[in-house]
């Protein structure tokens, strides 16, 4: 068996899907369960090529429901397991991830968003925000990292395993088809050499010893006999989630201190927003940009701070208001006009953002 898959630091030029596979290897993932769907397929392609060289495993399931539930099983068995999906696959993943949410199973799923609902638009959108942050028939106690590029994909794929295993909430890396398919430079590294300690997985079932004799028998269930029993279970999780929120929330501010116009965008669209700032500032427009990295939990207070001098907000997203809902909730009561660029399924350039802000003056 070979040594560590990633040693030292290395400058590379890769597609996002390849980055995810490398990051999962570097994060000491044991097994991937997956089902093919564009645009995440190459995660599995790279994983299946590299995994056997490092003693890691793979199972191709019959559908995404199965991929989700086998991932749940693998995690319960005490292995670092993950999956990746998109679009209609993400829809099917909501069922197993609801189980993971209620049973506190540290699953990791990488989502490469595509256009909805089923076939054809297989490359890009930001239309899986609502489903990924609040999907399933539960309360949405999950962690969702929205990445903006390949360095993020590497960093947050590694981080997602630590988040999942430390806090025991299902964790999602929410990227998109552009990030999946394009190639850009980044630095890959061995987390240990960066001082990142990977949380060791632990078995939920199958610990050594005779159950009921040497150790308590593990009974993992998501059936509750009464509504009150369910209430208590959910409230316990809610308490843990709220206690962890402070640690989990991540965001970035770009020139927000004196911003009179605040652009709010996430994921790859944040890069268009970042790109728009220099030209607008040169034109004397006090503009800033707030980028939430975690969409769930959402850094409400930090967004409000970034908006403290703002006279208006511009929400930009490649969906028809899914991200806008999160922003509105965060800004509730601030009485700020909100303008939007909503482009479901379509990419957004910095030129468009510049033009919109200039014409709106």
């Amino acid at each position: 068996m070979s040594d560590k898959p990633v040693q030292g630091e290395k400058r590379v030029f890769m597609t996002g899907n390849e980055v995810v596979a490398w990051a999962a290897l570097a994060a000491e993932v044991d097994i991937m369960y997956g089902y093919p769907i564009t645009p995440q397929n190459e995660i599995m392609h790279y994983w299946t090529r590299m995994a056997p060289k490092f003693g890691r495993k793979f199972l191709q399931t019959e559908d995404e429901i199965s991929a989700g539930f086998t991932t749940v099983g693998g995690v319960m068995a005490g292995k670092k397991a993950f999956s990746a999906t998109a679009g209609p696959g993400n829809t099917l993943f909501q069922e197993p991830m609801s189980m993971a949410e209620m049973m506190r199973i540290p699953t990791v799923v990488v989502i490469q968003q595509r256009g909805g609902p089923s076939t054809a638009t297989v490359i890009y959108s930001q239309q899986e925000v609502t489903m990924t942050t609040f999907g399933g028939n539960g309360e949405g106690f999950r962690v969702v990292y929205s990445t903006a590029g390949h360095q993020d994909l590497y960093d947050y794929t590694i981080k997602s395993f630590n988040t999942a295993w430390k806090y025991r909430f299902p964790t999602f890396v929410l990227a998109d088809g552009y990030q999946a398919k394009m190639r850009e430079p980044l630095t890959i590294y061995d987390p240990a050499e960066k001082g990142i300690e990977m949380v060791k997985p632990e078995p939920f079932v199958g610990r050594p010893g005779m159950p009921g004799v040497d150790r308590p028998t593990q009974y993992l269930r998501n059936t509750y006999n009464t509504e009150v029993e369910l209430y208590d279970a959910v409230m316990d999780i809610a308490k843990d989630y709220e206690a962890a929120m402070e640690d989990l929330m991540e965001w970035e501010n770009f020139m927000t201190d004196d911003a009179e116009t605040l652009i709010v965008a996430h994921g790859v669209v944040s890069r268009a927003a970042q790109g728009a700032l220099p030209e607008l500032r040169d034109a004397g427009i006090k503009v800033g940009h707030f980028r939430p990295i975690t969409l769930r939990p959402f850094a409400n207070e930090e967004l409000r701070k970034a908006a403290k001098n703002a006279k208006k907000i511009l929400v930009v997203e490649s969906a028809y208001g899914q991200f806008l809902k999160l922003v509105k909730e965060a800004l509730y009561g601030m009485d700020l006009p909100i303008e939007t660029i909503l482009r479901p399924g379509v990419g957004i350039t910095s030129e468009e953002i510049v033009a919109r802000i200039k014409e709106g003056r």
Binding site: E62, G73, G74, G206, V213, R221, N222
Partner: protein
């Protein structure tokens, strides 16, 4: 009482006259005799099978509608030294979870699936199941199941044995012959222990609550009506497994 049972949860929660208790009794005996209690990861589905979530002193996972097979597959793939048992009803295995059953069998997953067939959806109040017999009255076939309208009952072991390959073990037993049912379940577990392939046992069982039968009529339905339609016996056994 089998050693592998959890005595603290007995008497069990199944209705009087339900077959689950008997099937779980012989499963418990089989686990004891094979001495695998500390290796078993027991998964149960929804419907009445979920009431088995704390039945054994074996690590147990109660999962979602029809999803026990993939959960146990996930456990087994991650930790091949475990003995994975997926326990479900006819609805969980033949309706909502059928694609998982079919594909687990096709991939020859080294797990053991035990499916309890009581020809109806017990916990949801006695609706028609994939295994409801022609003419049988249920809440959603109140005039009796008409196969021209709703199709014929699923023949699970027949289907699985047709798609399963080398190393698979497939049988159908009945609660009316527990000695034989235990033999089948034991062989199914041994097959997994030996790492030969997918193992599947259907167990004919009763639901006197929703069948609205008395003791005698319940027994007649299991022994005559069900056994006439669902043939009891071994459908597939690895050639060299006889010991």
């Amino acid at each position: 009482m089998p050693k592998s049972w959890n005595p603290e949860t007995k008497p069990h929660k199944f209705c009087p006259g339900c077959g689950h208790g008997l099937v779980l009794k012989v499963l418990g005996d089989a686990i004891d005799e094979l001495e695998i209690q500390d290796k078993v990861v027991f998964g149960c589905d929804i419907g009445c099978s979920l009431l088995a979530w704390d039945f054994f002193n074996c690590d147990s996972i109660q999962t979602h509608h029809g999803r026990t097979t993939p959960v146990i597959t996930g456990v087994k793939r991650a930790t091949p030294d475990r003995i994975g048992i997926a326990y479900m009803g006819d609805g969980g295995g033949y309706a909502i979870g059928s694609q998982h059953l079919v594909n687990a069998a096709t991939r020859n997953e080294k797990i053991t699936v035990i499916l309890v067939n009581n020809t109806n959806y017990g916990m949801t109040g006695g609706q028609m199941a994939p295994t409801t017999l022609p003419g049988q009255k249920t809440e959603t076939s109140p005039y009796g199941r008409d196969p021209l309208d709703t199709g014929y009952p699923t023949l699970g072991p027949e289907m699985v044995s047709a798609i399963a390959r080398e190393g698979a073990y497939v049988a159908r037993g009945t609660m009316s012959n527990l000695r034989q049912l235990k033999k089948f379940i034991k062989k199914a577990l041994q097959n997994q222990i030996d790492g030969k392939g997918f193992s599947f046992v259907e167990a004919l069982s009763s639901c006197p609550t929703n069948w609205r039968t008395n003791a005698e009529a319940t027994w007649n339905f299991v022994e005559k009506d069900m056994a006439d339609y669902f043939k009891v016996g071994e459908f597939k056994a690895p050639a060299k497994e006889e010991k």
